[in-house]
């Protein structure tokens, strides 16, 4: 029951206003630019040859990545859900690692492997792969290796939601393979398809990988227009078609997933083990995926970093960026979780219709490409007065993290809160506790792990954030991703690899701790 002026209304409304100010205003600013009489209306609609090429490349990058990531990820998801693999919890974490690494780090590793002076060229004595390494197909492969865990996890979740009795009824009359093909997969299809669409949006939104692999797509063009040509109008012209595509696809994806995005529905009983005989091939495929997607890039970075003459030389000049990144990611993740906790509560307790609208909004906001968010933030904050005072400071980084990562944290927290029965709150309420006390003593303590998970996700994303940061960074200020991205061209690869390895390590440590905590909790 929502009454004004209850503490619940005030707290949730405050969080909603913060979300609107940080995440929605930059997008609204860009979308309303044509309405404010800027001379760009015709340019948006007319696609010249250059724009057509950008559109073609961007579409190929998105569609190719969505297809390949699904081809890799969906079977792995089926294996995790239906094949009795040993050490499944650990395997799941290992398979998910590539999605946690900043994509440009994986791309960097592949350039050190396949570039003209890469490990392959050194080993065989001539340049075999460099032309391919810096190409659109290579960007598709790298992004597929980064994003396949999303398809894998979505498929596993979709299969786990299927009532086991539906499959049991099938295995009484058909083989396991037929049941999988005719019953299980069709039931899981909306979830798998929605994941593919989300991957499409993330791929077309990605800036670091196409930038590194010299593939011209909309995101790199927005960056070039703003950062190299200082042409803000052109940046907006290029940004708008990409923004519209991202928003449209995200809306379709949410429509496919529906309420399942934050659903806490538990299927009764264990699902039937359909693919008992597929242990070995499934285990081998999973091991290959871990080796190719995480093992090889990390090993390449280690091999390259070992060539550095000293650690001091590596970190000379990069120290402030490392400290900055740690502080800003910690501050940003904390701020994100503080706002998201209340919005996550509101989402979890909302009715189906309001919930669906909220989910669409959150996914759409998350789908907005980072460089577009960056341009929006600059348009909003780079002006005289108080806004300008903030614009020149590190607070812009935190605003950028809030703008991009509140939606993910909200959905993670909402999913956790759904597991707290409403009756627990009601029992506290009739016991004499007000809403804030109920939240702090009853609800939030029960979702501690969910809050920590949301914080780790926000920290990982913030620590690897590049697209917004590189545009809004105040003069002389840099984060580790900006530092790595900008020194690639004029610094020994060993130094860059060592910094990338440091970044990967900082990201994987909290993730490993969290995975350990989850494993211990599940074992209890």
């Amino acid at each position: 029951m929502w009454r004004w002026p209850s503490s619940r209304t005030i707290v949730v409304a405050t969080a909603a206003v913060l979300f609107a100010a940080c995440s929605l205003l930059p997008i609204a600013y860009l979308l309303t630019v044509p309405l404010r009489g800027w001379p760009i209306g015709g340019d948006i609609l007319s696609l010249d040859a250059r724009q057509q090429r950008l559109l073609w490349n961007t579409t190929l990058l998105g569609a190719g990545t969505a297809f390949l990531a699904t081809v890799i990820g969906a079977p792995l998801g089926v294996a995790l859900a239906r094949v009795p693999l040993p050490g499944k919890a650990l395997l799941r974490v290992a398979l998910a690692v590539p999605a946690l690494l900043p994509p440009y780090i994986v791309a960097l590793a592949w350039t050190y492997l396949g570039g003209s002076r890469g490990l392959v060229a050194s080993a065989i004595g001539h340049d075999l792969l460099s032309e391919w390494t810096y190409s659109l197909p290579a960007a598709v492969v790298v992004l597929s290796l980064v994003f396949y865990p999303l398809s894998m996890l979505a498929t596993e979740v979709a299969l786990r939601r299927i009532d086991g009795r539906l499959e049991e009824a099938g295995v009484l009359v058909a083989s396991a393979a037929v049941v999988l093909r005719r019953i299980t997969i069709p039931l899981a299809a909306p979830g798998i398809l929605a994941a593919a669409l989300i991957i499409f949006v993330l791929a077309v939104s990605e800036f670091g990988v196409p930038g590194l692999l010299r593939v011209r797509v909309y995101t790199t063009e927005v960056f070039t227009a703003f950062a190299s040509l200082y042409d803000f109008t052109r940046a907006i012209v290029v940004a708008l078609p990409l923004l519209l595509v991202s928003l449209t696809v995200a809306v379709v994806a949410v429509a496919l997933v529906g309420e399942r995005l934050v659903s806490a529905r538990r299927v009764s009983g264990a699902p039937p083990v359909l693919l008992d005989g597929w242990r070995r091939p499934a285990g081998a495929a999973a091991t290959c995926a871990v080796a190719i997607a995480s093992g090889i890039p990390l090993m390449v970075l280690v091999a390259e970093a070992l060539g550095a003459e000293s650690l001091r030389a590596v970190f000379e000049g990069s120290g402030p960026a490392i400290v900055n990144s740690l502080l800003l990611a910690t501050t940003g993740a904390t701020a994100v979780v503080i706002v998201a906790a209340w919005l996550g509560y509101a989402r979890a307790r909302a009715g189906a219709r309001v919930g669906r609208v909220a989910d669409t909004l959150f996914i759409v906001v998350f789908a907005v490409p980072s460089t577009i968010v960056g341009v929006g933030l600059i348009g909003l904050w780079n002006r005289p007065g108080i806004f300008g005072a903030v614009y020149g400071t590190d607070a812009m980084f935190v605003l950028g993290y809030l703008a991009r990562f509140i939606p993910v944290a909200v959905l993670a927290i909402a999913a956790a809160i759904r597991y707290v029965p409403m009756s627990h709150e009601e029992a506290a309420s009739v016991s004499g506790a007000g809403w804030l006390r109920t939240m702090t003593h009853i609800v939030l303590p029960q979702i501690r792990l969910g809050l920590v998970t949301a914080w780790v996700i926000a920290f990982v994303l913030a620590f690897g954030e590049l697209g917004v940061s590189i545009l809004i960074a105040p003069p002389g200020e840099a984060t580790l991703p900006i530092r790595i991205y900008t020194i690639i061209a004029n610094t020994p690869p060993s130094h860059v690899a060592a910094l990338a390895l440091l970044q990967a390590t900082v990201i994987l440590i909290p993730v490993a701790l969290l995975a350990g905590a989850v494993t211990v909790r599940e074992a209890r």
């Binding site: 009454r3 009756s423 309420s429 009739v430 006390r437 029960q446």
Partner: protein, 226 residues
């Protein structure tokens, strides 16, 4: 004439197209135990939730001890200010708190002093015969013990009205019978106004001063039991 402890006047409640309560009027005298009988979906639980303030009526009025607590579309007094103890059908025991902490949470919320808290918690644990269970979490308790904890939590705040929503429905036959007798004992000892929702006629036979039968959101009959 004594004011009724619970006075419900022509209350209606609708969820989407489903009319859960359709003009329900009933009262309960102080210290009376009213058992509300009826099949699933007849509106029994909705009625308790409206009295507790967890939902608001679409029409009608709800009065507790002479004070109006709800009017059409409005809750006039928040649930925690209505002086109610509620035992939920799923018990709703907080999994992260021990028995002692759960009871303490209730008393903290009512700003009861620490020394008084200890006394009241011991009193409630003793009353429900779970003295040795204060340090345990819900998952460390049997079904019957969880039931007693839920009752202790509802009673520790010294409510004026006790609402029980099918509290025995999840228990097996033997435990159910034992807990029913336990509730009868508590009723004798506490003499508290109680509304007890169930679909089990045996509960009604053992506990009720008055039995109200509900069907499709309406009261279909009222029987004096004792």
């Amino acid at each position: 004439m004594t004011e009724p402890a619970v006075d419900i006047r022509n209350v209606r409640k609708q969820f989407a197209t489903h009319r859960a309560l359709d003009g329900v009027t009933l009262d309960a005298a102080p210290r009376e135990c009213v058992v509300i009988l009826g099949p699933s979906g007849c509106g029994k639980t909705t009625l308790l939730r409206l009295i507790a303030g967890l939902d608001v009526p679409d029409a009608g009025e709800i009065w507790l001890n002479g004070i109006q607590v709800a009017s059409p579309g409005r809750s006039l007094i928040a649930p925690h200010r209505r002086g109610i103890g509620f035992v939920f059908q799923d018990l709703a025991l907080w999994p992260h708190l021990t028995v002692h902490q759960s009871l303490q949470f209730v008393l903290d919320s009512q700003r009861v002093s620490r020394s008084e808290q200890d006394r009241r918690i011991q009193e409630a644990l003793k009353l429900l015969r779970i003295n040795g269970f204060g340090g345990r979490h819900p998952h460390e308790l049997s079904g019957g013990e969880q039931q007693r904890v839920a009752l202790a939590r509802a009673l520790v705040g010294h409510p004026r009205l006790l609402l029980l929503d099918e509290p025995l429905s999840s228990l097996d036959a033997d435990l159910r019978s034992a807990m029913r007798n336990e509730l009868a004992r508590l009723r004798r000892e506490l003499a508290m106004t109680t509304l007890y929702v169930t679909h089990d006629r045996e509960d009604a036979a053992v506990l009720a001063d008055r039995v109200i039968e509900m069907s499709a959101g309406r009261i279909s009959s009222v029987n004096e039991s004792r």
